[in-house]
Every structure is written in C-alpha cells, then in structure tokens.
Subunit: 469 residues, 2 copies
C-alpha cells in the first residue's frame, strides 16, 4: 500500500437507508439529514477531502447513544462519534457514510468531588465550560490543547497541549470512562479511586482509540488544585539549539515548569509583526510556572540563569496576570500571526514528537526541508515533551500544493521515526497517518487489529481511522 492510501470502507447503501428511516422515526428533529449539517460534521482540517455522514444524531443521553449504536450494529452501518469537530487528522470524516453521533448536547457536569479532586462529566462538556464551572472551587482541569474541544473528544484522541509537561496528557487525567461498545453494550472502565491495579487498563485502551472501539458517554476526570501563584514570561535565544538545551536543563533540574513552549524564527517573525512586539527575531521560549508565590519566583529566577548560561535571555517574566497575558499573547496569537505569512492560504497543522535530545536536530532539519521546498511553514512546539507542530500554509485548491504538503508530511514523519520519535504526539492517526503508524509500530499494529476485530467485528465504529484492516 502506498503511504497516502486511506483505508477503504465499503458503503452499505441498503443498511444506511434502513437506519435513516429507523433513526428519523425514533429521534424526530434530533436526527438530521440536511446537507449543510452533514457537511459541518465532516469538515476536515487536513488535505483529505470531506466525506459526509448520511445523518447526524444529536444525542442527549447515554441511552440515546446506546439505542443508535444498536440500530447501526443491527444493520452494519458506520458510526462516527462527534464532539466539537476540532480534531486534526480527519477523525470525523465518514469514508463509508453512516451516522454521525454528535454528543455536544450531552454537556452536563454531573458531579464535582472537591475532596477527591475529581469530577464526572458528559462527553460534550468542553474544557473551558468545565473550568468556568470549577472557577470557585479552587480546582481546575489542566489539559489545554488550544481549541475549546469536548472532553469526550479529547479523551478519544489522547489530547494534550501546552501544559502536558507538568500535568500530563488525557492519558494521565482520566480516571474512568463510560463507553458504549460497537455491540451497543455499555461498560464502565474503572472505579473512581485515584489508582487501581485491577485487571487490564481499559480506560487507557479507550483513550486514544479515536472512537474506533466505542463512544464515550461519561468521563471521570482528575482535577488539579489552582496554583496559589503563577509566573509567565518569554525568553529569546540566539539559536534553536540553545533554546532546546534550556528546556533539557530545566527538566533535568526538576524545575516544575507548567508550560515551556517553543516558537521558531519564522513563527516569531510572524508574531512580532502581527503584534508589534519588541523582541529580537529568533527562536523564543514561552514559560509558565505554577506554585507558591516564593516558589514560582525562585523557579523563574533559576530559569533566567539557565537561559543566560546558554546565551539566551533576558527572561522577562511577571507574576501579574495582566503582564503574563501580555507576554504570552504572542504565543496565543501564533496561529493567527502565522496566517498573515501567506494571506488567503489554508493552515494545515501536523505534528510529530521525538525524544527531547533529538528535538533541535529534528526542527533544524525540518526548517532546512521547508526552505529547500519553498514552503511557508512556521513551527511551534510543546518543547518539554519533544512535540512540535508545523503549520503548512497552502493553497488547498492547488493539486500541486496538496501533493507538496503530503510529501513534506511524509518526510517529516520519516525523520521523526528515524530519530526514535512518533508520528504524532497529540493529533492522533485519524485517516492521514495510518501508513506512518504501521511503520512506527511494526508487528504491534497487528495486535491493535486483533483488538479492533474482536471488539468491533463488523468494523462499524469509526471505520477507516487508525487501522487499515
């Protein structure tokens, strides 16, 4: 198979026709088949064409989900779970048609257990909604992938983001899931205890399975205590290598940095122009420390020393929210600033993740690649994890540019794999990276296939994603 071959999903027209009728009758207005709405549920942020589902169910409860899955299972019709549609590798596309189950109306925060630092939510609750709800509890949910994604979707794609370096990823912050399996059966993957060694870790099996093993209908999440104090700041470096070395030293010293984000020279140029900032054009790190007042001040000072030893700095930081926000504005604006580098172009974000010791080499080689192929593609990275994103600015109506982007992604992935890295740190496999998953995992992909076939023998749950069966 070629690297860019998608998984083929045969279309079951008869089954789909039957299911459309049954779901319409059962759910009335909550089941929609209009083209615009179906289109909204199949948008993709990749260069893969949108593939619409045949209908969209707005589920309001686990019972709704279960009923719909049972109908689809009986007629072997694909199901595509949908949260907010912010996934980045075609996870909500419907290559064989079928039913999009939209859980955005399942957005109740069911319980907050402040003493246990956990909460129970429905899958359509977004991270911002949850944090707004938690504001007065002294707690917060720390995973921040950028987009205001649904928590169900974040679990399904094993999302992480800017403060994974301190708080971990969705893998680490989900205690338990309710999942409707392809059979229509609902299971709970764990109790609410903070740890357990009871049997196979089904919670982690579901996290990152991108809806191919079931639909998440409830989540129990770990919460963190809101830090007493936060400092944030920005620090320029003469070279990318120096910036990455500062990251390595910071982590080796055990400085509990909450965010440590890297932007490369092109990205900084865009940011500086976009926001009229007074910073040198060159690689920059954006940092945030969480802790006690004295603790974060001490950590910020220590980081300033690390940066200085490497020829970087000054590290301009502040404990005041307004100043912090201003210093971080550049990072927050990275995407919008990047778009100005090529007005009218579409931004396609791709990610890889390598051991941190390889991060500078991997980014420098990627910058060379970008230059050699006349691409416009700034880079930002969650440097503490060795994870970085390339935003390809392309004319997505041009076949040549799409082909060039595909070739670039292929080279990027091969480069990351050759350095001991993974083809995706946080975006997932979706439709676009199946071939790279196979290269990365070798025979282990067969184990994944065995599990998929066992739990979903008719391949109805988000078919055409993760695995070419």
């Amino acid at each position: 198979m070629a690297l860019k071959d998608l998984a083929r999903v045969a279309r079951n027209d008869d089954g789909i026709a039957l299911v459309l009728g049954i779901l319409k009758q059962r759910f009335g207005e909550r089941f929609q088949t209009g083209t615009a709405l179906r289109g909204q549920h199949a948008h993709t942020t990749t260069y893969i064409p949108a593939q619409m589902p045949d209908g969209v169910l707005f589920a309001q409860s686990a019972d709704d989900v279960q009923a719909a899955v049972e109908v689809c299972a009986a007629h072997r019709v694909p199901i595509i779970p949908f949260g907010t549609g912010t996934s980045l590798e075609g996870q909500v596309n419907a290559p064989g048609g079928g039913i999009s189950i939209d859980v955005s109306q399942m957005n109740r925060i069911i319980e907050v257990h402040a003493e246990d630092l956990d909460c129970v939510v429905e899958p359509g609750v977004t991270r911002k909604q949850l944090n707004t709800h938690l504001r007065d509890t002294g707690l917060f949910f720390p995973i921040d992938p950028g987009a205001d994604a649904s928590l169900g979707g974040m679990a399904a794609t094993r999302a992480s983001g800017t403060n994974a370096v301190r708080y971990g990823t969705m893998r680490d912050n989900v205690i338990s899931l309710d999942v409707v399996l392809p059979s229509g059966r609902k299971i709970t993957t764990a109790k609410r205890a903070r740890k357990s060694s009871a049997g196979y870790d089904l919670t982690r099996l579901m996290i990152g399975s991108e809806g191919t093993l079931g639909i998440i209908t409830q989540l129990t999440l770990r919460l963190a205590g809101q830090p007493e104090a936060i400092t944030g700041g920005v620090c320029p470096f003469p070279t990318l290598e120096a910036a990455v070395q500062a990251v390595i030293t910071t982590i080796q010293m055990g400085l509990p940095v909450a965010r440590i984000e890297l932007a490369n020279t092109l990205q900084m140029q865009a940011i500086i122009d976009y926001a009229s900032l007074d910073l040198p054009v060159g690689p920059c790190l954006f940092l945030e420390f969480h802790g006690t007042e004295r603790g974060v001040a001490e950590q910020s000072e220590t980081f300033g020393e690390i940066a200085g030893d490497l020829g970087g700095g000054p590290f301009i930081w502040s404990a005041h929210e307004e100043d912090r926000s201003r210093l971080w504005q550049a990072r927050h604006d990275a995407y919008w600033a990047a778009l100005t580098l090529r007005p009218g172009a579409k931004g396609i974000s791709t990610d890889v993740c390598v051991p941190i010791s390889q991060l500078a080499d991997c980014i420098v080689d990627t910058e060379t690649d970008i230059a050699e192929h006349d691409l416009v593609a700034p880079i930002v990275g969650h440097a503490g994890d060795g994870n970085f994103h390339v935003l390809l600015l392309i004319d997505d109506t041009s076949r040549e540019e799409i082909a060039a982007a595909e070739s670039f992604v292929e080279r990027l992935n091969l480069r990351a794999l050759a350095m001991g890295g993974t083809c995706t740190g946080e975006h997932g496999i979706g439709q676009g990276k199946m071939a790279f998953l196979e290269m990365e995992m070798g025979g282990a992909v067969d184990v994944m296939r065995s599990i998929k076939r066992t739990l979903d023998p008719d391949n109805i749950m988000n078919p055409g994603k993760i695995l070419r069966l």
Copy 2:
C-alpha cells in the same frame, strides 16, 4: 461461582512432558526441574497454597524467552513469568503446572539517556539496582513499592508505592515495552518519545496484565531529576479523620508532597514499641517533600500549619538526611514492627483503594471489623492515593484462621467497592481477587476476556490469573 473460587487450569501432562525434554536439551543447566527451585518459584504470600511449575528456565535474553514461549505454545503448556517473586496475590503460582520463565538474569541496564530523562533496561533489573546505577547522573527512578522488585514485574503488576502521589505509578513511568506475546512473536509497544497519540495504548494494556498477555523482555522507563533538597518528617494526629483531612487539604492546596503515608493506631503502637520512639500512640502521617531548599522548607512549614489547624502536630521535620532517615525509620520498620504484635504469625498483606474522601470512613470501619473479629491487623496507607494495606497476622497452619482471613478480605473488598473504590490499588488481581474484579468491573470484564482470548487463544500465558475464563 463462589467468591473464593480460583480459576481452574487443566493440566496438560503430555504437553508438559514433551516441553520439559525440549527445554532441557536446548537450555541445559539453565533449565531446572529440581523440587526446591520449583518451590522457590511458586511461593505465595497469600493464603492460597503454593502450586509449583514443572520447570524453571533462567532466560538470559529476549531470544531465550521467545524460544521458550514458542515451544510452550506449540504444546499448549502454561508459562509463568517470574521476576523476583515479590508479588502479593499469587501471580507466580502455577495452577496448571508449566514453565516458570525467570528473567532475573536479564538484568542489564542497556541505555541511559540523561538528556531525555529515560533509560532502557532488561526486565530483571531491580529498582534498587537501577537507582544505584543512576546515582551519579542526577536522575532517579521514583517508583518505590517497598520490595526491591524487578522492573519487569513492577510493570506487569502496575506497581506503585510510597511516592506515587507525586511521581505516579508504573502506568505513568513506562514509555515503552518489548513483549513476547503468547504466539512467540515479539512486539515493541511504543517509540521513545515522551508522549504519543499513535494508535491504541498497548503499553498501558500490558502494564498491569500480570503476565497474562505476554512476557516483558525490555522496558523504556521515564526518570526524574534527583531533587535538590528533600525534607521528611512525622506528624501525629488525634484521630484518623484529622490525619486524612490533612492529606486532603495538602493535595487540594497543590502542595507537591512526594510521600504522605498513614499508619493507624495499632501500627503506631507496634512501631513505637519496636523502635522505642517518643511519639504519642495514635494515627500518624509520614511525609517527604522534594524540591529546592527554599521550596521544601516552605512546603514543610505549610504542612505543619495544615496539621496544626486540624489539631495535629507537631510536625517534626528535617532536611538532613540522617534526621530524615531517623524520622522515617518508623515507617520503614512498619512491617517488622507489625510482626511483633503476634510473634510466629505469618503476615498477609492485602490492599484496597478508595476515593480519598472515603478513606477515613473505610479505615475506621475496617478497624471496627478487625476488632469485632478479634483479628490482629495493623494498617498502613499511601494516603495521598486513598490506598491502604491491612497486614493480617495469622497462623497459616490453622484452617479457621485462613477462613477468617478470607472472610475479612471479602468484607474489606465489598466495603471498598461500596465506597466507589477498587479491590486493589497496587497488588493486582492474581489468583485471589478474581471474584472482586468481576464485581468491580461488571461487563467490562467480558471485554478483558475478549482481549485475553484473542491474544492468547490457548490460555497459556500465566493462566488462572486475573480472569476466570
């Protein structure tokens, strides 16, 4: 099935006879069938009788393991992975006989990547061996289950221990595993990047599978930076509730406590007598903070205030290694001190884990249960996780006492489950807790069974553990 029914594993005498011959020929002196050695590989720390394997292979490489598994697979003979034999729920017992594969000679530390804070080791490396090796690197491996267990065994049982509250469990600290599957095929579950969202999380599927899905032949582990400073100390409380409330407040405030251990009144009485300590007899917390000098001092002071507000204290702490060790000696001696409560008795350790809000109730109810049934059973807990251990001191030659212990364990597990907890926080299911796993997980156990049957259709990999098939 009754709660205490073990899984039956039919004995395949013909297959075993064949395999014994083949392995003897292939491995010579490294394959042993003497009774004493087989007995050492089947000892159990539970009340379940020892069940010996038919032979013990001392594997020296993944190739050895693969070759042995292929032979066993061809003749449908059970394989029982063995590290140091410190598991606590009968994980190394051989209910249907078969071959114990002892990996203790696979004890090479293959690579240390200081810049990436990770290392690659063989499964027989013990945690103390690894930490001795790392001493001069500024790094350490933080998981400490007490015993000097093998890292392969720790991964297989999803071990944790005293500093899981800060550093997580084996779930969080394994990056990748090499595993020989029941088919004899070897897979690598992940690349060396610190995070990935590439496909199903096979690493986590293997962690905690207790050797029932494969044998671990290599591990890539996350390391932590050795803290610049450590403080440790001990803090008495008037009541168990006050001690647990101090734990909850500490964690809610986001104090990054590295260890926060609870001992109940009986345990403290034993400790105080054993070590002639000058402490009031009552519940106690033992704490450790890791960080910068200023940071740990600040945190220790803050904890002292929390304790004081709850009527506890004084919190006696020190940053000097010798003093810390002295203050923590009581905790380290807990097991030996406990044994003095009933000289000659065998200590059987059992564990459950509940949401922290339930911890005080669960322990108090358990103390009442212990008193009502005239048992001698002190309690220590990894309080920050809601995990606690009861050490039952019984005469293991007495059928009545074994029956009483079984009944107690049953009540303890039902109590933890009723409080939203799990039947094991860190010891695993093994042979002893299969019925409780079924009660805890309901239909999810069927998903575990599906996975087991798919990956191990002949049920040769550590049969009779975790799942009653």
